[in-house]
């Protein structure tokens, strides 16, 4: 196989796809131009000889596999990376940290880079599932530029295992049009209105950490509690609320957008996206507390393309690239160099960068919640009730 085969560039393909989606070209035109009719593009990604060749000498292989969260990257950055290095970025999207851990525990994931959240990293270290990072291979990593709150979980016992990606909060999104234009401000209000005025209109995550955490916040307990009596209270509340819920799901944007649901537990980036498109949807932090979190880039033990993994992390840490990432997904970064490059309206955005007094009561998720069997069983009882 040589590179003579006539297939269009990825960039051109994405442009054509966009035109097709907007309806400005016909399906036939799209299939012809992209060569999808002959499946050439599909083959292009699968047959090594058809991929762009490395533009410079440092050969890092032809692919790198990234396990990450939905809507969390700028695809244009990946294309630029492929053009510069010849390594194609294969993205696997996950729904929860628990699921990522489960896959790594089962072995042989084939991932090169993954994106764990702060509270899981100690468990990965204990289980020997994470590779310590060699900063000499990450010239773009500037440890002093990161806000320590969002960077410290990356080191365990003085060893660096993970470098910060983005941080955010877990609050609630409320459609104020159905509440006389008023938002709500606490988890107490969240669960009370969900059983009353917003019956059949509220959603909680399909995720033990945030759903149980928010129910614990209702009583003023810690978001991270594993105390049996406190968990029993949270369970009572959740089971009482369940018949009034619209859904238990972490994919809550569609129902909020089409008006089926009016209230949901929400991550700040989703809150920002919803608020931008529908200003009547407000993102608020619970007065009692809630979660503040930080995601990291890390390399799993035994990653098959180690050089490519370092190259990708290093590339994404470049403040210019990172700025594009933030503009695409709307989650803040802990890197001062990237922050400096953001436009002012993002720096002053109350959803991305809430006032300090709102952040103070928030808690980082605790490692204990990840492995606590009682929280897992509580979630199962809630879902099957």
């Amino acid at each position: 196989m040589t590179k003579q085969i006539d297939h269009i560039s990825k960039k051109k393909f994405m442009e054509e796809l966009e035109r097709y989606r907007k309806g400005s070209v016909t399906r036939r035109h799209f299939l012809n131009v992209t060569g999808l009719g002959a499946a050439a593009t599909v083959l292009g990604a699968a047959v090594p000889g058809l991929r762009p060749s490395p533009a410079f000498a440092g050969d890092i292989g032809d692919r790198v596999i990234l396990a990450t969260w939905p809507n969390y990257h700028d695809p244009a950055n990946f294309e630029a990376f492929t053009e510069a290095t010849g390594a194609h970025v294969q993205v696997n999207v996950f729904g929860s940290n628990e699921e990522m851990l489960a896959k790594l525990q089962a072995g042989a994931t084939g991932w090169d880079v993954y994106v764990p959240t702060n509270y899981t990293i100690t468990t990965y270290v204990e289980e020997g599932l994470i590779e310590p990072l060699d900063t000499s291979k990450l010239p773009n990593y500037d440890g002093s530029a990161f806000d320590a709150r969002y960077a410290e979980a990356g080191s365990v016992d003085g060893r660096l295992y993970a470098v910060p990606k983005n941080w955010g909060s877990t609050g609630m999104a409320v459609n104020t049009a159905h509440n006389d234009g008023k938002p709500i401000a606490s988890w107490k209000e969240f669960f009370d209105i969900a059983r009353d005025k917003f019956t059949d209109r509220a959603m909680v995550h399909d995720y033990q950490l945030t759903t149980i955490g928010s129910a614990l916040n209702y009583y003023g307990y810690s978001f991270n509690s594993v105390d049996e009596a406190e968990l029993a209270d949270a369970e009572k509340l959740l089971i009482d609320v369940k018949p009034h819920l619209f859904a238990i799901t972490s994919d809550y944007q569609p129902a909020m957008r089409n008006g089926d649901a009016w209230l949901t537990i929400c991550w700040s980036g989703d809150g920002k996206q919803l608020n931008t498109d529908m200003p009547e949807i407000h993102y608020v932090l619970g007065r009692e507390g809630g979660e503040i979190w930080s995601d990291y880039y890390a390399i799993p033990k035994g990653a098959p393309h180690m050089d490519a993994a370092y190259a990708l992390i290093n590339y994404l840490l470049d403040p210019t690239v990172n700025t594009k990432e933030v503009l695409a997904h709307g989650y803040p970064t802990a890197d001062a160099n990237t922050y400096a490059m953001l436009p002012d309206e993002l720096k002053n955005d109350p959803i991305l960068f809430p006032a300090q007094e709102l952040l103070t009561p928030l808690e980082f998720g605790a490692a204990a919640t990840l492995t606590d069997p009682n929280r897992a069983e509580l979630m199962a009882r809630f879902k099957s009730a």
Binding site: S96, E98, E99, L101, A102, K103, Q105, T123, E126, E127, D200, D206, Q208, K242, L245, F246, A247, I248, T249, P254, A255, N258, G259, D260, L370, T371, P373, A376, E377, M379, A380, R381, K383, S384, A385
Partner: protein
């Protein structure tokens, strides 16, 4: 090469497949089910019945599955039978192939995408908005057991239609003429001839749909809004969220046993039913 060796050689690929893909994994699951959950997830070898003693904690999931699987199968049968009957007996032979293709076409798209389509149809801006327009207000469809039932019937209907179609298509039409010549009314012909002769198709269709429904988790998760919890959903959570492999294995083994028992009882019933009806029709 003797006949015997040749037989063994021909059986080897299928045998190896069964051993590697069925017997070995099932044995691993069976062994895990007597283990214990490792502190941060996974399994540690042990010999305990603790996981089985814990089964009542998933009683609701079993109850939901054992309710919706038979209801879904029966509903699919009630809808599929007239369709298969029409295709096999009433449809113009010229159109038959096209109509059959139309039944298969949805299968070309992933069930995930088809279920997403139902999310929009059953959601607030779909059928309820239409009902609202004609004056029926406040109907909620999405994220209810009814939505799950609709998704199940839709998803598995072709699996029910085809076996019934085949058995009706093969039916010797002269039997129907004979029945009519002997003075039987159409309804009597149907009950005494057509229906008994299509029992193999019904039995196969029900079996296919029922077994798949017992392990279903995607449709309840998507159309039930996470509020309708099947054994399949319990298993996904146990392995992918709480990483309790030991307990997950015990639930899986129990599901297999429940399935085997149900299918055995079902086969007995069917053969008894088939036999007695056959006697009647012969008389």
């Amino acid at each position: 090469m003797t006949q015997r060796t040749r037989n063994w050689l021909l059986l080897a690929p299928a045998g190896t497949w069964f051993l590697v893909m069925l017997i070995v994994p099932l044995s691993v699951v069976f062994i895990f089910s007597f283990g214990e959950r490792a502190p941060s997830g996974g399994v540690v070898p042990a010999f305990t019945f603790e996981q089985y003693a814990n089964l009542p904690a998933r009683w609701t999931a079993f109850k939901n599955t054992m309710t919706l699987a038979p209801v879904g199968t029966l509903s699919a049968l009630v809808i599929a039978y007239p369709l298969a009957y029409f295709l096999a007996i009433k449809a113009n032979p010229k159109w038959k192939t096209i109509l059959l293709v139309l039944v298969i076409v949805p299968f070309w798209t992933s069930i995930l995408i088809r279920s997403y389509a139902w999310i929009f149809l059953l959601g607030g801006r779909g059928i309820p908005a239409l009902l609202d327009f004609v004056g029926i207000e406040g109907v909620r469809l999405i994220n209810t057991p009814f939505a799950v039932l609709v998704g199940i019937i839709y998803g598995y209907l072709p699996l029910m239609v085809f076996p019934i179609f085949v058995s009706l298509d093969k039916l010797d039409k002269r039997l129907l003429e004979a029945s009519s010549d002997l003075g039987a009314k159409p309804w009597r012909t149907f009950v005494q001839i057509t229906l008994p002769l299509s029992i193999p198709g019904i039995a196969t269709g029900c079996m296919l749909v029922f077994i798949l429904l017992m392990g279903e988790y995607l449709i309840p998760a998507l159309l039930g809004g996470g509020k309708v919890f099947f054994v399949g959903n319990a298993l996904v959570d146990l392995f992918l969220q709480s990483r309790n492999w030991a307990y997950g294995s015990a639930v899986a083994v129990t599901l297999v046993v429940v399935m085997l028992i149900t299918v055995t009882v079902y086969m007995r019933l069917i053969s008894r039913l088939g036999a007695s009806r056959e006697d009647v029709s012969i008389m």
